[in-house]
Symmetry: C2
Subunit: 219 residues, 2 copies
């Protein structure tokens, strides 16, 4: 059965951003602080090490509702029994990934334009990762930042959950949530924090505060 | 049913080595010249482009007995309907690859030590790619070259077909075949040749001459 996961506070790993700390420890702390989903993005690892790492993270997350998502490599996700994959526009086509994964696993898709959102709506994709919101240093691509207005427009165009990614920090989090996105994906603001647990907790507080504010506007 | 393929003259692609020529054209010519197997090794491509390329090569090879093998990416091989994968020691573990691929597709494994040959013999692997025989420029790894003696020792230790790779040229081909290997994998000596077809034909002649010589020794 297809599980419903919570992508509202989505940790995307980046080993260099962990500044020498053990990645598993950073993940454990972040989850304790309130991270609701984890994506392993480890472009520098060979597939064998990537599978080994993914299995260790899977074990770590076993007793939690937090899903493990693998960036790019569907074969790694399948081998490690991960909950899904996150695909960029240059990665395996979601159609091919869905055929290999079957119905249940999550497929996330990176989107950087409204056209990509519209196309993604027609595919068997479970959520969008929209970004970068602001210029970012952790992912070396050359996509133009969306800005808050661009992000808001994408959120409106998307029926599927849309998660903001790219330079999401505690400072920018409130403005990003104002655009109406369903969650934030965080890299360095958690991985490089002195305390990943505390950083995650602060993001969680920001998300809760925003929801409370939204609810008070409705009533 | 598991097909038996001929890996005696195994083209391993390298787009930069094609020097601007169309890779499909280089493959078409090589096959016309006698290449018996093709491996796509395209580390620089995103998975989506890799699948597209693999599908085009698959179509090209459709009417031939030449198998299409994909380097590293099991998900790409499955999506493109390739005949198998070739795995390095850092790639997906052959056990994981076999589980994803099922019984039929070919799995090749790179080996650089006798220990790796012995371990590979215990795995569901169909052939070994042993190398580099001599120092090589097309693959930027830091494995020590086996030399002809090292290659001969590996050939003796292997029950499965063992294909030599790494600086195989028309000059070195006869000496390499003398070591008792079952075939040669060729990169630049075909991809960079003025006529890939003619280069492949010359390798084929070298293989035939060696077999004739071997047969005459037996009688």
């Amino acid at each position: 059965m297809k599980k419903i996961f919570d992508f509202s506070l989505y940790l995307v790993t980046d080993q260099p951003a962990c500044q020498g700390r053990n990645l598993l420890e950073v993940i454990r702390e972040s989850v304790r602080g309130g991270v609701s989903a984890v994506q392993l993005r480890e472009k520098q690892l060979g597939a064998r090490e990537f599978v080994d790492l993914a299995r260790r993270v899977k074990t770590l997350l076993e007793e939690t509702p937090v899903p493990l998502i693998i960036n790019d490599r569907v074969d790694v996700a399948l081998s490690a029994g991960a909950d899904g994959v996150h695909l960029g526009q240059d990665d395996l086509h979601p159609r091919d990934a869905r055929r290999l994964l079957g119905f249940d696993p999550v497929i996330g898709l990176s989107v950087n334009t409204l056209e990509q959102v519209r196309e993604g709506e027609r595919l068997e994709v479970d959520y969008f990762g929209a970004g970068p919101v602001f210029p970012t240093s952790t992912k070396k691509d050359h996509k133009s930042p969306l800005g808050l207005e661009g992000l808001a427009a994408m959120g409106k165009a998307a029926d599927k959950p849309l998660i903001a990614i790219g330079s999401v920090s505690l400072d920018t989090c409130p403005d990003i949530l104002q655009t109406g996105v369903d969650g934030v994906a965080v890299v360095s603001a958690i991985c490089s924090a002195f305390s990943p647990e505390q950083a995650a907790r602060r993001f969680r507080t920001c998300l809760s505060a925003f929801r409370a504010e939204k609810d008070s506007h409705i009533t």
